[in-house]
């Protein structure tokens, strides 16, 4: 399968069409979410197992074993869900194997025939069109028989609170411009806050060639510099001020291959590893408590321009996947979308894909963790840029390293 940065421009109309479809899915997911936050839904109750019983009470589940390739940002939630599913009647017949993989890695494994995978669930639909195109070239048919957005999550900056307060005092706010300034301060934290013992300012994001959140970082950095929410153009990417900022940040940034791994490293190694990172909101929420118990509080800061990660669940029509396995994959999807499992998604920081599950209620992390900077309204949502813009961004990123 082709890699995004190496993707030839190709017929623009075809790709544009795919981008439109992609944007439509995002819009649908966002629309569903907005409807839900406006209070349309009702809270569900009971255990996941009992919910599953009511959902699938009359259906005889097949005996099957399936593999799900998923991004590490969903690790804690999906591992919990698989354990719960195993306690249901269906779960006793359906064995789920979880295969943690980067978004692009999962698509590549499928196209190259990894027979362990029956479901692909990356962080966002960003790579879907490229996957579909490559699959069709190899197998001459559409790869996806069913798809649904499991949950939503925007991008956020995460910073150690003590250092964020010092940063804010110096620069006013945290954004890509001020990060670039901090990264170029001679003497690092000594110049920023008179704290030489904090060392140099350390910022991290994931590798855009390996991880969805890394590409999101480049896109939002470009939107931020261009000062707009849509119609990002190749000219915006080639604009000298953006190129300069990209080079400044990327020469000093610490790259990681996966969002979950980077956030975990931030919590385990504390501010000695990262002062600030750019990650999914759910990943930040998932680690808020464990971070506070080690190195002090962390603070969540929303960029002015943001994008949704829709966590799609694709049931794959592979030659190695039989009807029972596809049915099993769909039954597990229904379980994932059930209210108790979606409520659990909230505790792991996701905004539920099921509109019947509310975000705001007393125990919600969006209420209990407000002091860490979490908020329901995330500001301006940018549209996904065209393929040529993404290609230009990745090429510029390669040059900047």
């Amino acid at each position: 399968m082709s890699n995004v940065p190496n993707q030839p421009d190709g017929p623009r109309a075809t790709f544009l069409g795919k981008v439109v479809i992609f944007a439509f899915i995002i819009a649908c997911a966002y629309g569903a979410y907005r409807l839900f936050v406006q209070g349309r839904g009702k809270t569900g109750g009971g255990s996941p197992a009992s919910a599953a019983k009511s959902l699938f009470g009359g259906t005889e589940a097949p005996t099957a074993e399936i593999g799900i390739s998923y991004g590490t940002e969903k690790k804690n939630w999906i591992e919990w869900a698989v354990k719960e599913f195993a306690n249901t009647d269906n779960g006793k017949r359906i064995k789920i194997n979880l295969l943690p993989m980067g978004s692009l890695e999962g698509a590549q494994a499928l196209v190259s025939g990894d027979q362990r995978i029956h479901v692909w669930s990356p962080a966002s639909s960003l790579y879907k069109d490229i996957f579909v195109q490559d699959w069709q070239l190899k197998y001459s048919k559409a790869p996806i028989v069913k798809e649904e957005s499991l949950a939503l999550s925007p991008m956020v900056f995460v910073m150690w609170d003590e250092r964020y307060q010092a940063f804010k005092t110096k620069y006013g706010e945290l954004n890509f411009d001020t990060i670039a300034k901090a990264l170029t301060e001679q003497g690092g934290w000594q110049a920023i806050a008179g704290k030489p013992e904090w060392g140099l300012f350390k910022f991290g994001h994931t590798n855009p060639n390996e991880s969805n959140s890394g590409l999101m970082t480049l896109v939002l950095m470009a939107y931020s510099k261009a000062g707009k929410n849509k119609n990002l153009t190749p000219a915006d990417v080639l604009e000298p001020k953006f190129q300069q900022q990209l080079t400044t940040i990327e020469k000093a940034v610490s790259l990681s291959s996966s969002t979950g791994t980077m956030m975990r490293e931030m919590v385990l190694k504390g501010p000695s590893a990262y002062d600030a990172v750019f990650v999914y909101e759910n990943v930040a929420i998932d680690y808020l408590k464990s971070a506070a118990g080690r190195w002090g509080d962390i603070h969540v800061i929303y960029p002015k321009q943001n994008m949704w990660n829709d966590n799609p669940y694709y049931v794959i029509d592979a030659t190695w996947s039989n009807a029972d396995q596809r049915k099993a994959a769909e039954l597990f999807l229904e379980f994932m979308m059930s209210e108790p499992v979606q409520k659990q998604a909230l505790t792991h920081g996701f905004r539920p894909g099921n509109p019947n599950v509310p975000v705001i209620f007393p125990q919600s992390p969006f209420v209990t963790f407000q002091q860490f900077g979490l908020r329901n309204d995330i500001g301006n949502i940018c549209e996904y840029p065209k393929a040529e813009v993404i290609n230009n961004l990745l090429a510029a990123w390669q040059r900047s390293r």
């Binding site: 074993e65 064995k95 194997n97 943690p100 362990r116 690092g188 934290w189 030489p196 013992e197 904090w198 060392g199 140099l200 350390k202 291959s257 996966s258 791994t261 975990r264 490293e265 919590v267 385990l268 190694k269 504390g270 501010p271 000695s272 590893a273 680690y287 464990s290 971070a291 118990g293 080690r294 190195w295 002090g296």
Partner: protein, 563 residues
Amino acid sequence: MSRLARCTIALVVLSLGACQVGERSSSSDSSSAPSHPAAETVNLTFTYGSEKEEWIKNVTEAFNREDHKTAAGKFVHVEAFPMGSGELIDELLNGGRQADIASPASAAFIKLGNVQSRVKTGKDLIGSTDSLVLSPVVIAMWKPMAEALGWPAKSVGWSDILALARDSRGWAAHGHPEWGPFRFGHTSPESSNSGLISIFAEAYAATGKKAGLTVAEVENPKTAQFIAGIESSVVHYGSSTGFFGKKMFANGPQYLSAAVLYENMVIESYSPNYSMPFPVVAIYPKEGTFWSDHPVGIVNREWVTQEKQQAAKVYIDYLLAKPQQEKAIPYGFRPGSTEVPLAAPIDGAHGVDPREPKTTLEVPAPEVMDAILKIWHANKKHADVALVFDTSGSMKDDHKIENAREGALQLISNLSDDDVFTLLPFSNQPQFAVKHVALSSGRAGVQQSISGLWPSGGTALYDAIDMAYRDQMAATEKDSGKIAAIVVLTDGEDRDSHMSLDDLLKEIQFDNEHHTVRVFTIAYGSDARKDVLKRIADATQAKSYEGTPQNIRTILRDISTFF
């Protein structure tokens, strides 16, 4: 990648292969045999950095007892082997034991192994990893000495330590002339992770930088001068960080003022096994340090079948689960799971601070690493080594003399041109073959002398050590800037000396002033008196080994890392 970078990686990985030799064998520490039929069991081999041996031994034995199964219903049995991290990677690259799971001391080893593997096979050696446990690299120092530097109120860094190391006044510069000179210890950067990190930190301190170190900055004469000043205070080098720590805790501040160790070893020093005059504390250098993060991953080689991969996942998940992670804490490790909070003994009562370190240093680029190693070689503390070599008649048996000669030649090849060498063969009586020969000009002659040794006569061991010791003392008085050491290789019991063991022990007893020559001993073969040789080595604060014709070359290579 560049040829230079490949050379560096090869140098570091291959030389790290020498780690831990002689101190321990790399035998399994979870030796319980599989208790289920072979057809129902997936057997896994796990090689890991020996720093976490006690914890891995504990949890792996429990894992094997608990009958864990794969999804397909097969029992999983794990055999775990502690090794030096470099040795572990080297073995995977060359096939060897064909481990299925690996966990070196730091992610740097995985990176180095993957680079080599990609050159060789086009694919990585080890895929994605998780940290099993963590421990930062710290400067371990006796508490009163740390307080004399202003700790804990004042942040102390590599630059402070290294300035003290270069100050000829020693502790007198900080109001404590009674403590004598500042004695600093770090392992050999060619053999040990913490040694490599130490010289990176020296290069950063020399240039005043925290990141972006360049080859030109490393090659600046001021950097060389700075590093030479620090290295002059080094007591000796060595291959094992654990050995340094244990010697420091056992021998007190007169042996070492400070050493570069892992945080978990500082915690270990509070064990009742040690009777120390003062507590040891961890200094987290203000300029930054490095983490030892113990990554674990499944080996990406053809022998790791899909069934083994699934079984490996079961074992790795078990190690990362809360109960096993909680068991790592009493061993002084920070857990690799975010679900397990930090707790005692990772606290001030055990000399460490869970809120540290505040920053880290950047790992230099491969070509900068190569430049730093070269500068260290040229400016390290050099050695004056005497080899006391048993040529008694019994050395004829079992090819002992041939293998010992090969080992001695290995020792010579590992010494640098700036080192000085003495050869004292002995049987009924000792007689110098070569004395204080500079290897820059006399290496070939020394090699010739070693190759010409043959066995005959008795064993005047104590007289030989006495003669070598007096000679080394005299040499040290003339030039105190070298590591003065004696290496004794003998296969039998003393039968022909005029001097008694008690008199010898009195004479060579380390006193930190005049009697500072270290005597490393090798009990070669089954007839050697291991107990006597250990007493001799211990009296001089050196290390004793048990050798055979099969491992003698490896032992002498390990001894060479002290110089």
